[in-house]
C-alpha cells in the first residue's frame, strides 16, 4: 500500500496585493531585485505574503508545506543571486519561456549564505505541518549560471553541489527536500556529464537528513519526450529517496523508464498541471495518481508525493489557489492503488 502525500515544488506566484506593493517598493528594473539585504519594509511585505501562502496550503490540506519562495526574483538561481562571489548581470531568458532572470556569474569561491534556511525557519514559525524544502538541483543550476572562476564544467558543477549542500545543512528540520532538475530533460547531460550530474545530486542529498526528491519536469528537447534513459540510469545511482516525474508533460515515456529501469522506494508524481489555467477536479487528480502507480510495473512505492508538475510562479494567483485546493482535496478522495 503506497502512502500518498500531497505537496508542491514551490516557487509560488506572489499574491496580487504583494505584486503591487513590492513593485512600488522595489521598482521594475534590474537594480531593484532581491539581493539578500532588503529593507525592513520589503522584508515585511514578503513576511505577510509568506504567511498568506502558508495559510493557503494548510487550508487546502496539503501534507507537506513549502515556503513558497516568493522572494526568488530570479526563480531557480536565487540562492546564487544572494551569494557573495556572484555578480548578477543582464537579464537572460529562463529556458524557453517568456520569463527572465538575472544572469548569475560566479567570480570567486562560493560559500553558502543560509538565505534559504532563514526563510524556512520563518515558515516553521507559521505552521505545525511538516515542511518540504525546495532548492535548484546542482545540474540545473550549472546550466543556468555562468562560471568565471572554476574554469571547467566539472569543477563548476562540484562547487555548485557543495554550495547547495552547505545551504541544505543550515536548514531547520524539514521532512523532504525537492531538488528541481528540469535541465536533466531540457539540456540533458551527455556521456560523463550524466554521471557527474548524478554525483552532484548525491553530494546535496548527503548533506541533509530529509528525504530527498530529485524532481524532473518538462519534456526533453533533445530526446523523444521523456527523460533520457541513460540520464535516468545514472540518476538511479544517486542516493536520493525519490525521483520526481512530470506525468502531465509525458506519462507514457515516464512510465516506460520506471518499468524498464526500476525506481527508488519513493516517487514524486507531477500530476497537476502547473503550466495552464484549467483546474483539475480532485477525482481527476486521484485518477492520475492511480494510473501512474498502476503503470509503474514491478515497483511498489512506499511513498508517492502527489504534486504539481512544475513550479507555479507563472500561474495567475486565482487559478493557482484553485489548483492547490484541488490537490489538497485528493487525499480525502479514494486512492486505491
Amino acid at each position: 500500500m503506497t502512502q500518498v502525500r500531497s505537496t508542491t515544488p514551490g516557487l509560488f506566484p506572489v499574491p496580487d496585493w504583494a505584486k503591487d506593493e513590492l513593485a512600488n517598493l522595489k521598482g521594475r528594473q534590474k537594480g531593484g531585485l532581491v539581493s539578500g539585504d532588503e529593507s525592513a519594509e520589503i522584508s515585511d511585505a514578503y513576511d505577510r505574503a509568506r504567511e498568506e501562502v502558508v495559510g493557503l496550503q494548510t487550508d487546502a490540506g496539503l501534507d507537506l508545506v513549502v515556503e513558497g519562495q516568493l522572494r526568488w526574483d530570479d526563480m531557480l538561481t536565487h540562492p546564487l543571486a544572494v551569494a557573495d562571489a556572484v555578480e548578477t548581470r543582464g537579464i537572460v531568458r529562463y529556458f524557453d519561456n517568456n520569463n527572465f532572470y538575472r544572469e548569475p556569474v560566479v567570480t570567486g569561491d562560493l560559500a553558502a549564505t543560509g538565505d534559504v534556511a532563514t526563510d524556512l525557519e520563518a515558515t516553521a514559525e507559521l505552521t505545525d505541518e511538516s515542511l518540504n524544502a525546495v532548492l535548484p538541483g546542482p545540474y540545473t543550476l550549472s546550466q543556468l549560471a555562468t562560471d568565471e572562476h572554476y574554469g571547467d564544467e566539472s569543477a563548476f558543477l562540484s562547487a555548485l553541489a557543495e554550495f547547495l549542500a552547505g545551504e541544505a545543512e543550515a536548514f531547520p528540520e524539514v521532512e523532504t527536500l525537492f531538488l528541481l532538475e528540469p535541465s536533466l530533460l531540457e539540456s540533458p547531460p551527455g556521456d560523463g556529464a550524466d554521471e557527474r550530474a548524478s554525483e552532484a545530486i548525491d553530494t546535496v542529498a548527503q548533506a541533509t537528513d530529509a528525504d530527498v526528491v530529485a524532481h524532473t519536469y518538462w519534456e526533453s528537447h533533445r530526446g523523444d519526450g521523456g527523460i533520457d534513459e541513460k540520464v535516468y540510469a545514472h540518476l538511479m545511482d544517486a542516493d536520493v529517496d525519490a525521483v520526481g516525474f512530470d506525468f502531465v508533460a509525458n506519462h507514457e515515456d515516464n512510465a516506460y523508464v520506471i518499468s524498464e529501469y526500476g525506481a527508488k522506494d519513493d516517487i514524486a508524481l507531477g500530476i497537476v498541471d502547473g503550466q495552464n489555467t484549467l483546474v483539475e477536479e480532485p477525482s481527476e487528480i486521484a485518477e492520475r495518481v492511480e494510473w501512474t502507480l498502476d503503470n509503474a510495473h514491478g515497483v511498489d512505492f512506499e511513498t508517492a508525493y502527489a504534486t504539481i508538475n512544475t513550479p507555479t510562479f507563472y500561474l495567475p494567483s486565482g487559478r493557482f489557489e484553485e489548483k492547490l485546493a484541488a490537490l489538497g482535496a485528493v487525499e480525502r478522495t479514494e486512492v486505491t492503488a
Partner: protein, 361 residues
C-alpha cells in the same frame, strides 16, 4: 508573391536630412505612460462620475499625441505613439480576438507582470486592433509612423492554449487574423509594420512555424510596405541564419543588454536583410552617452553596410522613466547623425562592406 527584402527604406529619409548616409532611426514601440493617463484609466474603470467613454478616448488621444511628438522632438525618422492605447503586447490583442479569456496577472521577470490570457475556444477576428490607433497617430505625426504588432507565434506561445491541439495550429489561425489587420492598416496608409516575435528566440525547432506564419502575414502586402521583425532576449545562434529566409525586410534585435557578445553570430553567412540594431539598453535607467552609442552603432557595421542599418533601442522603453527614455532616444539620434557624417567623410571603417576606410584616406 512579393519579394523581400524589398527596396523600401528611402521613403523614410526626411526631406531635410543633412547627410548622404542615412541610418534609419526608430523605436521598438512601447513607452512609459504618463501618470495622468494611469489615473484616467482608474477613473474610467471605477465608473467615476463625469468620466465616461468620451473622456477616456480623449485622454488616450492626448497621450498618443504627446508621445508621438516626444518621439519627433527626439529627432526619430519614424515614430510610434508609444503604444499609449495598449495595455500589454499580448493582452491588448487578446482582448480584441474572440476565443480568449483572462484569469489574472503572471510574472514575466522581477515585478513585471502581464495578464496572460487563456485560449478557451477557436480564435476569430473580433473588433479592429490598430487601425484607429494608426489613423490618429498618422494624423498628428509629421514623420512616418511605424506600427508594431504582436506576431501570431508569440500570441500563441504566451497564452495558455486550452483549445487547440498544439500551439502551431493556434499560431496559423492567428496569422490569418494578423494578415487581415495588416491589410486594413495598409489600406489606411501604413507603410512600416513591425511584427514583434520575442517568442521566436526561445524554441529553435519552431523556426519553420514562424516562417509559415510570416508567409501568411505578408501575403498580398505590397513591397513598398516595409515589414520588420523584432526578436529579443535569446540565443540568436539558434535562429541564424534561418531567419534570412523569412519574407521580411528588416530584423530588429536586442544586443546592448548582452554587450554585443552575440554580434559575430550574424557575420557568417552574410546578413542579407536590413539590421535594426539595438543600441541602448531599455532595462537600465543609466543614459548611454553619445560616444557609447556610436561605439554600439559601429558594432552593427560589422554585420551590414550603412545602407542596411537601422538604429533602435534594444526593446520597448516602457519601463523607463520618461525623461530617461527621452534622453536615450535623443542621444541615439545624435549618435546616428554623427556616425552618418563620419561615414560621409570616410572616417569610419565598415567591416561589413569589406572596405577599410581610415581617417587619412
Amino acid at each position: 508573391m512579393t519579394d523581400r527584402p524589398a527596396d523600401n527604406r528611402e521613403q523614410f529619409r526626411p526631406a531635410d536630412h543633412d547627410n548622404d548616409h542615412f541610418l534609419l532611426t526608430s523605436v521598438v514601440g512601447s513607452y512609459k505612460k504618463p501618470k495622468w493617463l494611469d489615473r484616467a484609466r482608474e477613473l474610467y474603470e471605477d465608473d467615476a462620475d463625469n468620466f465616461g467613454d468620451t473622456e477616456w478616448e480623449e485622454a488616450k488621444d492626448d497621450a498618443a499625441r504627446l508621445i508621438t511628438e516626444e518621439h519627433e522632438r527626439a529627432g526619430l525618422d519614424t515614430v510610434v505613439d508609444g503604444e499609449m492605447r495598449r495595455t500589454e503586447m499580448v493582452e491588448y490583442f487578446a482582448e480584441r480576438i474572440e476565443g480568449y479569456e483572462f484569469n489574472g496577472r503572471v510574472k514575466v521577470w522581477g515585478h513585471n507582470y502581464f495578464n496572460k490570457p487563456s485560449v478557451a475556444e477557436n480564435v476569430e477576428y473580433g473588433e479592429q486592433w490598430l487601425v484607429d490607433e494608426f489613423e490618429f497617430t498618422d494624423s498628428v505625426a509629421d514623420r512616418p509612423v511605424k506600427v508594431p504588432i504582436t506576431g501570431p507565434y508569440t500570441l500563441a506561445n504566451w497564452t495558455f492554449n486550452e483549445a487547440y491541439e498544439d500551439d502551431e495550429a493556434l499560431a496559423y489561425d492567428l496569422a490569418e487574423l494578423v494578415n487581415e489587420e495588416i491589410e486594413q492598416l495598409v489600406d489606411a496608409g501604413a507603410r512600416y509594420i513591425q511584427i514583434d516575435e520575442p517568442a521566436l528566440a526561445t524554441t529553435p525547432d519552431d523556426h519553420a512555424i514562424v516562417g509559415e506564419c510570416l508567409e501568411r502575414i505578408v501575403e498580398d502586402i505590397p513591397e513598398e510596405v516595409r515589414i520588420g521583425l523584432h526578436v529579443c532576449y535569446g540565443d540568436y545562434s539558434r535562429i541564424y541564419p534561418e531567419v534570412l529566409d523569412y519574407p521580411i525586410d528588416e530584423l530588429d534585435l536586442e544586443l546592448t543588454n548582452g554587450d554585443y557578445e552575440q554580434i559575430d553570430v550574424f557575420t557568417e553567412p552574410e546578413f542579407t536583410l536590413d539590421l535594426a540594431l539595438g543600441v541602448v539598453d531599455n532595462h537600465t535607467a543609466e543614459v548611454e552617452s553619445v560616444e557609447e552609442i556610436k561605439d554600439n552603432i559601429r558594432q552593427g557595421l560589422k554585420v551590414v553596410p550603412p545602407e542596411q542599418l537601422t538604429i533602435s533601442p534594444d526593446c520597448g522603453l516602457k519601463l523607463l522613466p520618461r525623461e530617461k527614455a527621452y534622453a536615450k532616444m535623443e542621444n541615439m539620434v545624435t549618435a546616428a547623425r554623427e556616425v552618418e557624417a563620419e561615414l560621409d567623410a570616410g572616417e569610419i571603417d565598415v567591416p561589413a562592406a569589406g572596405e577599410t576606410a581610415s581617417a587619412d584616406d
